[in-house]
Symmetry: C2
Subunit: 385 residues, 2 copies
């Protein structure tokens, strides 16, 4: 149900001919109200796609009534023609729903540089068809239509006291800090103003999607949008709401990690006893960014030397000769010297837990990442995105 | 001839049993004088190996008489026992040559965490054997003994006016900014003081080894050392000497790039019209660090969209919508929009030239890198280093 789990929402997913596979490729999520409060976060990449440039303006007033999403083309670096395509897409949806185009968020994903007249024609026709296909149980259709190299739709729901929040996500590669190549739509029937939604969303993404770093690459199109219908008539405490949104985003982030392109390990890097949370994040991320370490994990090699070589490149406050490194509960390095034999570590499960004790402070952070595999190289050399 | 091309030097390479292949694995380079001026640069990784910690102290007074190098073990994160091994190695060489241990540079390469009693015994015996095997034409033997995953020894010589400078290098992976996993010994018979050698070496490495970024990973053991014998009796102008050292380092850097682990393309990223040289370096490096782009290159896909997505993550001063991108002379993107069709680019040669015109200033920089291939993943998952 995902985006249609909360009251006040309808959704759809239709075939617009953008995907060569003939699978659904345009999705629409509509907020029927009574509230139309909304918030969003976007890629921190300076190279932003046209839909991001457009949607940032849509969200400026904290109001959005619909989100239209297409796969099969990122509409990024497509010139002024591409921006006009995004604008026309919002207008097509607005006309069909009898709302203003300035309340329509647009998201696109696919190959950068794709956005010619044929693309525009298909997106516009698909948007109109999606408006006609809207249904109160259309969440799964929408979640399927936004898939690119994803192997399955990603949905989750968290129940509050008299209200709920649900969501869908796409993105199986290019996962990086400041958001992944990832489109996420969250919907809630809680009745909260846009400013509260914004605070909850930023709090949630900071510790979930922003700490998912599959391959260090950052997309041009990342968008996470939260729509509130207020249809429950319930105004939850902000802390409760933020906790639910965080739980929801954590669930979706784990689903994205588990479906990362070509990955054979889902890696949880836990950094403890750092001087600051920022230090812990930087140290954890340096592991996620080390091709040498991530290739070793693919080979089931618990290469703690590559861990230390990676963290030595950071600015974080710690002594490299006072660090403990554990793989799946086995401490292989204590205070910068060999400890237990590497043969004690079982690297065969898909889940891998790397624990780094910096012995420098009391702060902690967890980064989610994936290994570097033959399949990652294959998918990203054979598939243009 | 490499390190024995200049007058006043002897070298050797011997089998110490550190490599499982039985190939030579301990090298020695000795400066017979009359001068013993020296300079060096080391990894900027905070996780420094014992030989680096030792050799930094050796070079503090600008004097070095010998460099002993072993493959088959990095002697990094091996505790105080490991540091003692480095110290003993310098003493073994010093005793054999009747010089002070404080004038012996030690370099190691191989698996981090390797440095037990058996390792120490082999390194010490190998160092003594290497001293007995010294020869005026031993350069090639030394260059061979420092190889790890290198497929061939790397040597170069540049002739000055009455003097020369030559060198050897190892390192076929982990090439990264702030030096690669790379051991380089340069020798000259020019008669220059340590301060002049230091200036020339830093000037040369800044624009050569520091701009070679194969996989973004930085080693714990990188060392580039320059020894001057003064045996020519010629004191060249500093500018001439620095130019020769730069030419030599550029030659060796290209050899390292051409032998990078598993690579199928040697990529020259040329960034022009940047506001500053630092901006140009940052932009060029962002391409070298993009796994998505480097996998696309492996697949012969001139994916200019991934170029723009990569540079958008930098702090450099430019407008992403005012950038031109060319692959092998074909401009695929002009001012952030598609230009020539990608089918016009021939990606099959090993050499690839990516030109980025930022249209922001007048500074330029060139970064050397390699693509991300199945073989890279294979070598770095199967081989522990």
């Amino acid at each position: 149900m995902s985006v249609t789990a909360a009251r006040g929402f309808e959704a759809s997913g239709v075939v617009a001919g953008l995907k060569s596979t003939g699978l659904p490729d345009v999705a629409l999520v509509v907020n029927r109200g009574p509230s139309s409060a909304a918030a969003a976060v976007f890629t921190s990449n300076r190279a932003k796609a046209n839909p991001v440039l457009w949607s940032q303006q849509v969200l400026a007033d904290g109001v959005a009534r619909a989100v239209v999403l297409n796969s099969g083309g990122a509409n990024c670096f497509t010139g002024s023609f591409g921006f006009q395509t995004t604008h026309s897409t919002a207008e097509a949806v607005a006309d069909a729903l009898e709302i203003g185009a300035g309340d329509v968020v647009v998201c696109s994903t696919g190959l950068i540089g794709t956005g010619d007249q044929a693309f525009r024609d298909k997106v516009l026709a698909g948007s109109r068809a999606a408006a006609l296909a809207l249904a109160p149980d259309g969440g799964r259709d929408a979640a399927s239509a936004i898939m690119t190299t994803d192997t399955h739709p990603k949905e989750a729901v968290v129940q509050g006291d008299g209200w709920s929040v649900g969501g869908m996500a796409k993105g199986a590669g290019m996962l990086a800090p400041g958001l992944a190549t990832m489109l996420v739509v969250l919907t809630t029937d809680a009745d909260l103003p846009a400013a509260a939604l914004d605070r909850a969303l930023r709090q949630a993404t900071r510790v979930t999607f922003d700490r998912l770093d599959s391959d260090g690459c950052m997309s041009t199109n990342d968008t996470v949008v939260l729509l509130a219908s207020g249809a429950s008539g319930v105004a939850p405490a902000e802390a409760d709401f933020a906790a639910a949104v965080t739980e929801l985003c954590a669930d979706l982030a784990r689903q994205l990690q588990g479906d990362a392109e070509g990955a054979s390990h889902d890696i949880t890097v836990e950094v403890v006893n750092a001087v600051s949370e920022q230090d812990a994040v930087e140290v954890g991320r340096s592991l996620a960014r080390s091709n040498l370490l991530m290739a070793a994990v693919f080979g089931n090699d618990p290469n703690w030397g590559r861990v230390l070589a990676a963290i030595g490149t950071t600015q974080a406050e710690f002594d490299p000769y006072d660090v403990d490194v554990s793989f799946n509960g086995v401490r292989l390095c204590a205070k910068g010297a060999p400890d237990r034999p590497v043969t004690e570590v079982d690297m065969t499960p898909r889940a891998l837990h790397i624990l780094l004790d910096l012995h420098a402070g009391s702060e902690t952070a967890t980064i989610l990442t994936n290994d570097l595999t033959h399949d990652y190289v294959h998918e990203n050399s054979a598939y243009s995105s």
